[in-house]
Subunit: 359 residues, 2 copies
Amino acid sequence: MNNPVFAYANLWQFAHAMFLKIGCPPDQANEATNVLLSADLRGIDSHGLARLSGYVRLWEAKRVNSRPALRIVHESPSTAVVNGDQGLGLVVAPYAMRVAIEKAKTCGTGWVAVKNSNHFGIAGYHAMMALEHDMIGMAMTNASPLVAPTFSVERLLGTNPICVAIPAGQQPPFVADFATTTAANGKLEILQRKNQEAPVGWIQKKNGASSTNPSELKDGGALIPLGSDREHGSHKGFCLGAWVDIFSAVLSGANYGPWVPPFVSFLAPPADPVGEGIGHFFGAMRVDAFRSTEDFKHHMDNWITRFRAAKTIEGQSNLVIPGDPERESEIKRRKNGIPLDAKVVEDLKQLGEKFGIAF
Amino acid sequence: MNNPVFAYANLWQFAHAMFLKIGCPPDQANEATNVLLSADLRGIDSHGLARLSGYVRLWEAKRVNSRPALRIVHESPSTAVVNGDQGLGLVVAPYAMRVAIEKAKTCGTGWVAVKNSNHFGIAGYHAMMALEHDMIGMAMTNASPLVAPTFSVERLLGTNPICVAIPAGQQPPFVADFATTTAANGKLEILQRKNQEAPVGWIQKKNGASSTNPSELKDGGALIPLGSDREHGSHKGFCLGAWVDIFSAVLSGANYGPWVPPFVSFLAPPADPVGEGIGHFFGAMRVDAFRSTEDFKHHMDNWITRFRAAKTIEGQSNLVIPGDPERESEIKRRKNGIPLDAKVVEDLKQLGEKFGIAF
């Protein structure tokens, strides 16, 4: 836990300079930096600065377009499909979420599927954009195939996260943001660095047998859908991951399942794409399209207060309301700085040297 | 496996007569019977005729209104809230789903939250109503509190199922219909009848300790959210169950969390309700509000075909596409009849005798 700590503002400047360097227009560089750093603030370290060099390598490989012409290619009063023009997902996703919010203003709800995009950072950032409009926000995305569905040995799905963000009144919002696997890939990376074993139920070997080796994916192994095994409901985790894949990519015209391009630039995308880039799906629902905002917030406060006060198992201090840990992390890290893993620091230094930006 | 087998038509006649007997108008009796029997056809035995006497007892306790005045009480172009007037959920849910489908016809999507309803049978029936309109259907409901969130010993949520039904072209539709717990309550009932233990990770004791006793809920124990324990993602299962609860009840004005009235008539509803009855949430999305129906179906066929052909773990015959087992059950049971547990048969006989309907 002796990771070096950096001020938010300094890390923001570095990432912002980097996005400008690869050619992002200033407003898009701002937005990409805000999205990326929100992961570091909220304690989802795997999705923040740790990924910056990966985005840059995708740009070098001409798989990321730093000046995308974002556009709506199909729409109805409450829906749209956005073509991300191979842009950074960090930029495409907020654009699409704004379209969803605008649709909701006139129609009650807005639903936007996105094709031709890239990795969009944390789902939570985008879903939470709805909150200030007194709307419920939803965000999901497909991702590089690392997950074997129940009974299979093939990696056919990504960790395909879902976020649902729901406003409250006096209470902070309810923000559930989770991968549809037993464990997210970032948790394996942490175990790899610490040289520790993974719990049974997170990963399987190439032949489908259970494994506790956090590096198993390098040998053809796979992550497992939420539920861990059939007896404990992994077929339900598969349903969730499949749902995200279909809404994100089959609705939009992006690549789905095993055709989703890998995040890492050293692996080539499949030669026989079934769509364009990766896909996302966003939703915004105006609370007052269902009942008065005041009534809704009153009952959300009551819901949250009641659950937070639940009797706990001996030794557990409290029931965790979705969104609480991330919000607490953000308060702490804005004040005390953001700790970065030594390997991430080294990676960012090298990136800065290559592009002439001081880290 | 020596359960007596009954022809669908005969069981339908019995249930239909029963619904007429308690005062349902003929069209509502038809619909309630179709919904109820769809569970028996699709192999979800816990939600079919096994529940008929439970519905009747709720009617006797004046907690079910057999002649509800169903109405929209709030709406926007793409949303509505329906007051179920304490009707059978078997009748309220299809009404609300039709509202969602009508909204989607003009607006691209339709989203309907329902209050003042009762148990609605299987989520799959309602979500699948969208399919014939080339729409994606969604259905969810809250339910009697039997589930303790991660770290808690209190039963604060129901098994809160979600169904997503997605049309395909040549392939049968994708229909994922699942409780957001590790195991549905119906599975415990099967173990109780067989006098068998439950796997670790399905249930906890009153104090939160792990249990394998399928009758543990009678002693204050609880079901566990999908994921089984914190290390295997039960906090994600809690997020799912909470999401369903909030969409179904906080959006609509129904009871939520521990205030949801119990399904069994011998337990009184909480004395301090926070809303009316139980809540549901439905969605319908027109496929062509996103892309041409032809393109969408072509890619859904490709998705399903690719996943169905996945290499499997040795000893497993194939990857199961969501909806396949239920559809196969329906084909088989329509042809060969529906097996009913001896206890269910006895229960239905008694019910028939009481109301003068031959079983």
